[in-house]
Structure formats: C-alpha cells, structure tokens
C-alpha cells in the first residue's frame, strides 16, 4: 500500500470502515474513493472506445473492405460514439477530478450529500450496464450513430428504447453530481474562502454543474416522447406517423450542445490550475476567466442550431444561431489569452502536466478556430457532415478534454496515490501521443475540405492518401497511450513516495498529506486576507 505521511497514520486509500475489501470501495461515501471509482470505470470504458476507434481507422486504411463489412463498421462508430460521449467525456473531469479534489480545494470534509454522491456512481454503473446490454443483446447492435437521428433510428433494430433509457439513467447520474457540487460549493466552503478566492477549477465545476442540472432533463423529456411514439404510436418524430424528424434534432442538440460545455469547462478549469502552478505566478485575469466561464455556461444553451444549418430550419433561425455561435467563441479566446499571459514573466518549471497544458492550448486553439469555419453559414454548408466536422470535434472533445484529463491526472497523481510517476516515461508518452494525435486528426480537415462525407465505410480513391496518414496516426497515438497507462499503473503501486506539495502550488489540496486522510483536514482550514489560490511570492 502507498506510504503515508498522514499524521493519523491512515489515509483514504488504506482506511477501513464498516466494510472490507471491494465492498469498502463500492459502498464508500468518501468523495475521494468515489472519484477513484469513476476514474477506474471511465478508464475501462475509454479503453473499449479506443479499441473501437482503432478498428474504424483500420477499416479506412484502404477503400473497400479492409477488415469488416459495412454493417459492422456502422455499429462500430455508433458504439464508439455512445461510449466516448456518454460514458467517458461527459462524466470525465467533473466526476473524476471534481470528486477527488473539489471538496479539498474549498476546504471541506466531503461533498454536501455523500450518499447521493455514491448513488450517482451507482447510477452511472447501472446506465453503462443498461446501454451495453442494449448494444450486445437483441437483434443486432444499433447502427444509427450516437445522435440516434429520426426517422432512421426508429426503423432500425429494436433496442433503441433500452439504449436511450440507459442514457437517461446516465443523465440522472450527471444531474445528481451537478446538484451535489452546486450545494457543496455554495454551502461547504471553509472560513475565508470567499467566491473571489475560489480556485478556477472549482469555478468551472460550478458553471458545469448548472448546465448538468438544467440541460440534462431535456434528454429525459426526449426519452418520454420517444417512448410515447414507440409504445403508443403517437407521432412526434417519425414522419410516417405525422411527426417531425427535425424536432428530434432540436431536442437532441438542446441537450447535446450544452453537453459539449460540460466536457470542456472543467478541462479549462484544470488548465487554469496547472499553468499558474508551473509558472509560479498569479493567474492572469482571474475575474475575466470567471466571467468567461459563466458566459460560456449561459450562451452555450443558445447555439444548438449550428448543428442544423443544412437540416431545413428557417433562414432567420440560421442567421441567429450563426451569430450566437460567433459570440460564444469570444470567452474561449479570452481564456487562451489569459493562460498565455500567465506564463509572461513567470518562472516556468517544465514538468509533464505543463507539457500537457501547453499542448492542450495548441490543440484547443485548432479545434476552436476550426469551429469558426463551422459557425459561418456559407462555410458550414460546404463542410457540414464531412470529415472536417469529425476533425473539429475530436480536436475539441478529445484534444481539449482528453489532453486536459491527461494534464490533470499527471498533476494530481502524487496527491491521489501518494506516489510519483516516472517523469521520463511520462514525457515520452506525451510526445508520442501528441504526434499520433496530430497525425490522426489533421488529415481529416483536409479530407473534409476535399468533400469526403463522414460516416463513410468506403470512399472514392481520391481520399486514400489522407486516410492512410490518419490510420498511421492512430497507431502512433495508441502507442503513446499505452506508455502513459503502463507508467501510471506501475507508479501507483511502485512509484517513489510523493511530497505533500511537489509542484509548490498554493491551492488547499496541496496542504493536506499525500494521499489525503479520510476527512481531508486535521483541523478546519481557513483563509486569511493574504491567502489565495494563486498568491505566489
């Protein structure tokens, strides 16, 4: 077990409560143990999603059949999307690092409702099992794409209802986590932890929690409508029953677009912690970053229509959605400017988390700037539903959220496990992964601009070159991922014992032992006027 430097000789990893062994974990209400449960379950789902993605890229190595038939390919990209979106990136940072670190960062013993927190994890597991059962059993794996667009999704397979029900349960897990975090951040801050002293990661979790709470129920409403349609033949979405397939797209994106901000906001928060720490400098524009977080959370609700510029909406709606899409890009730009300015005149200690943070800024800029192309009406008409869109959202969702996740795990790893990882291997893993990532997704921008539609099992010979490079990239990236994963797993067991504050950070989680004791603090912490999350000398 990890060496402990806790004063009371016991930490959250070794502590034994009412139950022993596995039960002591899956029935634990300790926020850190729940955070680790999420980390392990999300990692397993991520590995499954990566394998499916790898299979897709292998299939696209050459035109025509390479390793699988069209039906298998369509099912593969559907399951890849469902797993990656609903089971990996949406819970991702909030459920893992929000649970592991947020209560300590605000000086609390735990979240406001520890039992509800455990229920959220159980709902996550239940949702995952439901969706996977719907995918594995029954008449064939769904082949609709993760968007389940009507009316195709109503005509194929029979397992749509259980799959959406699973997504609904996953949604509840997300709603409850959001509610829990909101109350925790409002009520559980330690004395002196004013709103203006809250670490930015906590601020982004706060914005995220509002989105989780307000946008996710739309999935529930959509489910009820789908169920009414399927069970009682009430025409809502299916034109054969007099329904409107475009209404489905509206409801789907009213949730799924804000969900993009559920994915990216906490990622931005983690980066806002890492850059000041390794620059040993106060974050530049603390209040501007908070304002940009809240405005993203708000304006993010109002831009869903940019997924539907070719769907047959009215011209006025398209005009409005395009304008708001450009406006929502501004707060993200503000964050990038502030992060880079934080490095100015800092004293930069280049460590693994900082490599990830800097590469995050780069891939996030590529993803964000390519989003401007898709927000512009004329340009979107041309590249909508092409490989360009696939490249764009992988740069944001995987490049953004994924790189921030790797940054966060390398940043908080010594605190979580009380051990250090091998820095050399971690850096090699980062380099290989980043090269692979760029080679995998950059050609897709080119393919999309050449006119290759997405979700294509087969393609015309003119698209061959870009696809070869992309497939090679996927192999390099997975090699990098294996290096990272092996290094972290090995280090969690055998790494050198970590210091309390290896990166010389100023936030509260670095004042408690590594790993932290069960209730985090020996005595309740408090902040004086001079204290603050970024008050470096």
């Amino acid at each position: 077990m990890p060496t402990t430097n806790a004063v009371n000789g016991s930490n959250y990893l070794t502590y034994q409560g009412k139950y022993k062994g596995l039960l002591g974990w899956i029935l634990s209400t300790d926020h850190k143990r729940i955070g680790l449960l999420y980390l392990y379950s999300i990692c397993v789902m991520f590995c499954v999603g990566v394998l499916l993605g790898l299979a897709m890229k292998f299939e696209l190595l050459a035109p025509g059949k390479t390793i699988m038939d069209a039906q298998t390919y369509n099912a593969t990209f559907t399951v890849h999307g469902v797993i990656m979106i609903f089971m990996v990136v949406i819970p991702g940072l909030p459920a893992v690092f929000g649970n592991l670190m947020m209560p300590i960062m605000i000086g609390a013993e735990d979240v406001a409702f520890p039992k509800l927190n455990l229920l959220s994890w159980w709902l996550y597991v239940l949702g995952v099992i439901l969706v996977l059962c719907a995918l594995i059993f029954g008449e064939g794996t769904p082949d609709t794409g993760w968007t389940f667009y009507a009316p195709y999704s109503f005509k194929t397979g029979t397992n749509l209802l259980p799959a959406i029900f699973g997504a609904f349960v996953l949604g509840f897990s997300s709603i409850l986590t959001g509610l829990n975090f909101l109350v925790t951040i409002h009520r559980e801050r330690c004395p002196g932890m004013k709103w203006t002293k809250l670490p930015l990661f906590v601020w982004t979790l706060y914005g995220t929690a509002w989105i989780q709470l307000l946008a996710t129920p739309v999935v529930g409403i959509t489910l009820v409508l789908v169920a009414l349609e399927r069970l009682f033949n009430i025409g809502v979405f299916d034109p054969a029953l007099g329904g409107d397939p475009i209404l489905y797209q509206h409801l789907f994106w009213i949730y799924s677009h804000p969900a993009v901000y559920i994915m990216i906001l906490p990622a931005m928060g983690a980066i806002s912690e890492i850059i000041p720490t390794f620059s040993q400098k106060h974050i530049f524009g603390y209040k501007a970053i908070i304002a940009s977080t809240l405005s993203i959370a708000f304006v993010g609700y109002l831009v869903w229509g940019h997924h539907m510029f070719t769907a047959g909406m009215s011209g006025t709606a398209q005009y409005y959605f395009s304008l708001l899409t450009f406006i929502v890009s501004i707060p993200s730009a503000i964050k990038v400017f502030n992060w880079i300015s934080t490095m100015y005149k800092g004293s930069i200690n280049i460590q693994t988390p900082f490599y990830w943070a800097v590469s995050f800024i780069f891939v996030f800029m590529v993803g964000g700037l390519s989003g401007l192309v898709l927000g512009a009406l004329a340009a979107d008409i041309y590249v909508h539903d092409t490989a360009f869109v696939v490249a764009h959202f992988h740069y944001i969702v995987f490049g953004g959220t994924g790189f921030a996740f790797f940054a966060a795990i390398h940043y908080w790893f010594p605190k979580i496990f009380g051990r250090m990882y091998d820095t050399a291997w971690a850096n090699i893993g980062w380099l290989v992964f980043t090269i692979g990532f760029l080679a995998l997704y950059s050609p897709m921008f080119y393919l999309g601009m050449m006119g290759m539609p997405r979700r294509y099992y087969d393609y015309l010979p003119e698209f061959h070159g870009g696809n070869i490079l992309s497939t090679f990239g996927s192999w390099i990236m997975v090699t990098g991922f294996i290096i990272i994963l092996v290094n972290l797993i090995r280090s969690a067991k055998k790494g050198e014992p970590a210091e309390v504050n290896p990166w010389k950070s100023k936030t509260l989680e670095w004042t408690v032992p590594s790993p932290p004791p069960v209730l985090n603090f020996e005595t309740e912490p408090f902040l004086t006027e001079e204290d603050g999350p970024y008050n470096y000398e």
């Binding site: 069209a70 794409g145 501004i330 004329a378």
Partner: protein
C-alpha cells in the same frame, strides 16, 4: 483552402470560398502568432533563466482589447459566412425545376418532362432548382464542386435548393447524412453540358417512347433499375444486403415470421407482400429493418411488371 483540387463549378463557389479564406486566414494568424508567443514565453521565462516570477494579476485594458478585437473579427467572419449563404436561400423565378427523390440508397432525378435518370444532367449557365423528396429516412444532397448541401427530409414540404452550374464537366454527388447500411455507396454524378446539348438530351424521348412499346418484362426491369432494387438484391445469386433475385420465382423460401420459421412459396402474393411489408416475412439469414415499404412508390401495376421480370431471372 486549396481550391485547385476541388473544382469550382457554380455561382456559389466564390462566396463560400471567400468565407473560407477570410476565416482560415484570420485563424492561421492567431494560431501561429499565439503558438509562437507561448513557446517564446516557455523558453524565455524558464525557471533557469528567470528564477523569480514577477507577480502580475491582470490588466483591465488588455482584457478589454482582447475581448473587443476578437469580437470585431468574428463579426467580420459572420458577415462573410452570411454573405456567401444569403443568395442560396431563394431560387430565381426562372429556375429550371428538377425533382430529386432520395431513398435507401440511391438518388432519382425527375425532369419537368417526366424523364427520369440516376445521374443528374444539367445545362451550363442555367439556374437549377432541386425539389428534394426523401422516401424513407434523412438523406442529404451534397455536390462539393458546387459548394451546396441540403438535407432531404421525409414529410417536409417545399424543401429545395438551387444553384447555377458554371463549368462543364462531371462532378461527384454524395449523400452526406448518414442513412444506414449502404450510406457510403449512395453517390452519383452530375454532368454539366452546354445548353444545346442538354436540350437535345432532354427532349430525346426515344427511351420513353420505347417504354410504351416494350414488354412487361422490360418495363419491370426498368422500374426496378429506376427505384434501385439492384443496389441490394443481385441478379447473379450473390448475397448483398438482401437475398438475390436469381431463381426466386416459384421456389420454396424459408422465412422468419415474427419468431417462427416457415416455408412459403414465392408467388405473386409473396412478392407483393415483400415489397409492401418487407419486414413481415424475413428470408432466413437477413436482418430486419434494412428494407422499408415501397407502398406509395410502386403501384400494383408496377409490381405486376416486376413479377413478370422476376419470372425471367433464373
């Protein structure tokens, strides 16, 4: 964008490409500029060179500058996006109308005089309005060389797109909205011809005239070609999405009705029900939901002709 590789062949190309160039131009300046500055800071303010950080908490002036400047730039981008898109919204009154029927997994183009093709023939320099119909699920008509795309939505009335081809040639036309198994094979070609050649082609009704005189067998085959049966059902016995038509007529078929397996004779009744209610009896080894009803698209008379043709496929 690299416009030399994707042909510029319609009146919208200029507007769309201008939006691309403006947005990508500004984006590249920012991407390269910010990346260079970031890497410079990382080197210049490295711990070794700068052991002590200078604490700067922020600057209201800078925050205002980097809010207002990007805002203005995005409004420029919005303008070019809007300007390139605006003319796509309304077709001119004198546009030639062609009806496009999309179904799993092909396109049919129907001209004003009733002529039907699976390739889109167009006259150069003439405004074209495509009326878009989808028979089953969502499709999307995408012609990269023209920079146009519009979803085809079942049940949506007055759904159309327009453009004016400006360059002779043959261009690709894709389905861009995922529509199931054969989505990536749902593509066709656009052939842009000089006006005179197009008119000759359009009024050449020899094919249509022959249709009246041709046998029910030939009519049946033509109907099946037009509606796209052979995309999924082969004539040579090979297994595609659905069972082959080879030797079907008059033989015993093993089908799954609900959960029960049974034998049925492939007679007129069976073929009619396979077309109007394809998922009621599934031939052993084939999946459900891959074919949808053709009720409303094929009349009983059409099916009579199809049956005459199927009798000859041995």
């Amino acid at each position: 964008m690299d416009s030399s590789e994707v042909t510029q062949a319609s009146n919208f190309v200029e507007g769309v490409d201008k939006a691309f160039i403006v947005i990508l131009g500004i984006s590249f300046v920012f991407l390269i500029g910010l990346t260079v500055v970031m890497i410079y800071f990382v080197f210049k303010y490295n711990k070794k060179r700068n052991p002590k950080a200078t604490q700067i908490k922020g600057s209201t002036t800078l925050e205002i500058i980097w809010t207002v400047v990007p805002f203005l730039l995005t409004m420029v981008m919005f303008y070019y996006g809007w300007a390139g898109w605006k003319p796509m919204q309304k077709a001119p009154e004198d546009a030639m109308e062609i009806t496009v029927i999309g179904r799993m997994w092909n396109f049919t183009f129907e001209y004003e005089n009733g002529k039907r093709t699976d390739t889109l023939f167009l006259p150069k320099d003439q405004a074209i309005k495509l009326n878009l119909l989808a028979m089953d699920v969502l499709h999307s008509l995408y012609i990269p060389a023209f920079r146009v795309k519009q979803d085809m939505v079942p049940g949506l009335e007055n759904n159309s797109m327009w453009f004016e081809p400006q360059k002779e040639g043959v261009y690709e036309l894709y389905c861009a909205e995922y529509c199931g198994l054969q989505h990536s094979y749902m593509y066709s070609y656009v052939k842009v011809m000089p006006e005179a050649a197009f008119t000759d082609w359009l009024v050449d009704t020899t094919q249509v005239a022959n249709d009246v005189l041709e046998s029910p067998t030939a009519t049946g085959k033509r109907i099946m070609q037009n509606i796209g049966c052979f995309a999924c059902h082969s004539l040579d016995g090979s297994k595609l999405v659905g069972p082959s038509f080879k030797g079907v007529w008059g033989t015993e078929r093993t089908v799954k009705t609900g959960k029960e397996m049974r034998q049925v004779m492939a007679d007129e009744e069976y073929i009619k029900s396979s077309i109007y209610d394809p998922n009621a009896d599934l031939v052993d080894g084939f999946g459900k939901g891959l074919m949808l009803t053709y009720e409303g698209q094929l009349s009983e008379e059409d099916i009579g002709n199809i049956i005459e043709y199927l009798k000859t496929v041995k």
